[in-house]
């Protein structure tokens, strides 16, 4: 995964393009995966959703909704998480982590929004959801869609100084920087709204969501876990990019360690809320009596608890060999939480079953490949990662 890098001259610590060859073994692999996905998407649009996916009227939402939209936007919460830390909590020392997080967010949210279009059956009417006279303000989904649409715009506005600097449009970049604070504020409000509402989507489904997951606290649980995902993904990406490009990330390491502590605290809050809620609703026994769902709940909980144990003490937090697996486990837990809440907990009666088909999975894998590919291209070309000697 290393490459022959031509690191542009820049002051140490300042954002700089990573440089290097855009075409390499990894990018080719990602492009191939994307190509496979595009083939199946072609079939989806020509023949219909049923020709490619395993969704049905028993399980109308499959992994295209759950992964490509709900989970992927969770992965893309790095920008939200860092904005909260740096600009609201005024922790300026985390500043170097902002740009990479923002980039991943802009790409991730754009693709998450685009993935909605792949899943919508009557996609040609998609603009209705943003058009007065059509949209239904009572619907949770309207609020999710409107917020995400607006947030994608906000993210690219927040990102624009980077692009403008690359294009040497200094005056415009300067202006944007001066008004950026408004969009930063918006960029903290909007994800708080829609990440919580992604959880609220489950509330109208009532009894159809198993009591281990169905709760009025869903919005709070979702936004807390999304925030955790944002912080975890920062650690995750920093580590991967560092290892992949052979970069020395020791300067960011203390920052990552403190991010790790934030994750630990947030996870504790999440677990307290989750189990407190289960206790208040009298569902603690159900943890053990729900068959396969008990197993999934157990795995999910373990994956939430493990990072707390790993990140609580200070010394291990200084090491990537602890931070990285903890962040990975945390991300896995949040992924599993969302899959469990939307698919495993979903009860449609004995007649129905669902498991994604191979073409359906390949499309999801292709979308992920595109996200990674775009991110790699961006960081090579644009000044995003903190410049370092190798």
């Amino acid at each position: 995964m290393t490459d022959a890098a031509v690191t542009p001259a820049a002051a140490p610590g300042q954002p700089a393009p990573v440089g290097g060859n855009l075409v390499n073994a990894l990018s080719v692999l990602l492009a191939v995966l994307l190509g496979v996905a595009l083939y199946f998407l072609y079939r989806r649009f020509v023949e219909g959703l049923g020709a490619v996916t395993n969704i049905s009227n028993g399980y109308p939402w499959g992994i295209w909704v759950v992964w490509d939209v709900i989970i992927a936007t969770g992965f893309a919460c790095g920008g939200y998480a860092m904005a909260l830390l740096v600009y609201i909590f005024n922790r300026g020392e985390f500043h170097p982590l902002v740009r990479p997080a923002l980039t991943a967010s802009a790409i991730g949210y754009s693709l998450g929004g685009a993935s909605v279009l792949l899943d919508l059956g009557r996609y040609w009417n998609f603009w209705h959801i943003l058009w007065p006279g059509y949209f239904n303000v009572n619907s949770v989904m309207f609020e999710v869609a409107a917020c995400i649409a607006l947030y994608v715009v906000v993210l690219w506005i927040e990102f624009s100084p980077i692009g403008l600097a690359y294009l040497k449009r200094t005056k415009l970049a300067g202006f944007t920087n001066r008004v950026l604070f408004f969009f930063i504020g918006l960029g903290v409000l909007l994800p708080s709204m829609h990440q919580s509402s992604l959880g609220s989507l489950l509330i109208p489904m009532g009894y159809q969501i198993h009591p281990l997951w169905q709760t009025p606290l869903l919005p709070l649980l979702f936004v807390t876990s999304a925030l955790c995902m944002g912080y975890a993904v920062v650690i995750f990406e920093t580590t991967l990019v560092g290892a992949g490009f052979g970069r020395d990330v020791s300067a960011e390491l203390p920052l990552l360690g403190r991010v790790g502590k934030v994750i630990a605290w947030l996870l504790v809050a999440f677990l307290v809320l989750r189990f407190g809620d289960l206790a208040v609703r009298g569902q603690l026994a159900a943890i053990f009596t729900s068959g396969g769902r008990s197993v999934m709940f157990g795995v999910e909980t373990l994956m939430f608890v493990a990072p707390v144990a790993m990140l609580w003490p200070e010394a291990p937090r200084a090491r990537l060999s602890v931070l990285f697996p903890a962040a990975s486990l945390m991300l896995g837990a949040a992924v599993l939480y969302r899959i469990d809440a939307f698919l495993v907990a979903y009860e449609r009666g004995a007649s129905w079953s669902y498991f994604p088909s191979v073409p359906e999975l390949m499309v999801t894998i292709g979308v992920v490949a595109l996200e990674v590919l775009a991110y790699l291209v961006f960081i090579r070309i644009l000044p995003i990662l903190p410049g370092h000697a190798r």
Partner: protein, 400 residues
Amino acid sequence: MPLGVAGGDQPREGDVASLDLTHADVERRYGVSRREFMTFCAGIAATLGLPNSAIAQVADAIVSKQRPSVIWLHHQECTGCTESLLRAEHPTLETLILDIVSLDYHETLFAAAGHQVEAARKAAMAKNKGKYLLVVEGAIPLKDGGIYCKIGGQTSLELTREVAADAAAIIAIGSCASWGGMPATDPNPTGSAGVAEALGRKDIVTIPGCPSNPYNFLATVVHFLTFGKLPPTDSLGRPLFAYSRLIHENCERRAHFDAGRFALEFGDEGHRKGYCLYKLGCKGPMTYANCSIVHFGDVGMQSWPIGTGHPCIGCSEQGVGFSKPIHALADLVGQRPPATYPGVVEAQGHGATTAAAALVSGAVGLAIGASVKLTRLLAANERASASAKAEDRPAQSAKE
């Protein structure tokens, strides 16, 4: 209607002796071609639900076996069952019908009457004691000692008891004899009852209907002739070959019922198109009989009530015929829902295929494996840089 051809004033000579007829004699004896005779035997075998191999057996039995003596009693009845029997076949076969049995007493068909006929009856009973078939047509009144029907000074009840005493088997033909029929309609002023109830016996073969289908009776008798015993019957004594299924199960209009096409009034468009008559009160769904298969009158298709456009009135079924109003809706009795009903749980949706499960497992495994590997790599790097730092320290302090 050849009255007096069979039976006559006295038992025919030669009946009782076993006749050694070749099939060539069939034509001479019965006045029909051999082909027609075999067709008749095949028809009887089919009605009984017997396989093709039984046809020869039936033919042999008819030709060679001793014709059983039959004493036929009439009580509260309209004689419709007898009339129906007589119309069962083409006239040239009437002789054949009346030759399968030796009809030794029949009030309608005998030319003679009065004491002579009664004497003939008693003689036949004595001669064939324990071997004759008793056929009863009509209901037996039980009220007030049974005085509401008397033949030759005897009440129906007494007469039936007397003849039943030495009968080899008793067949009740028609709904009246089977369970009381029309005379037993509420308020049943004469206390009419079927033979089984009147005699207090459970071994009566009943062939209900109003009239009953003559082939049901004929086939039952031929079965007795061929195999020496009566055909299997249900708990009410009805032969299973004719009464084990509902009219509804074999009705030619069933497709209309299943598709929801009903005639609403006589003469409306649905009625003219031959739609199901359920809404007009057809009792097919609760009546056990084979009218829908065998029809009546040998005049081809549609020669039965539903075929002519009138709902079945359940004439053969106790509790339905002459009891439930003709246009009241039938209940579906003993219905076994057909296999085409979707159950409340029907497997639908798309579960895991091996390939998909393998793909997911592979992807998850890859992710876990890569993470573990990277973690190990990071740990190794940390150990390496930690030991490098330890080496550097003395050098650094030396520098300072």
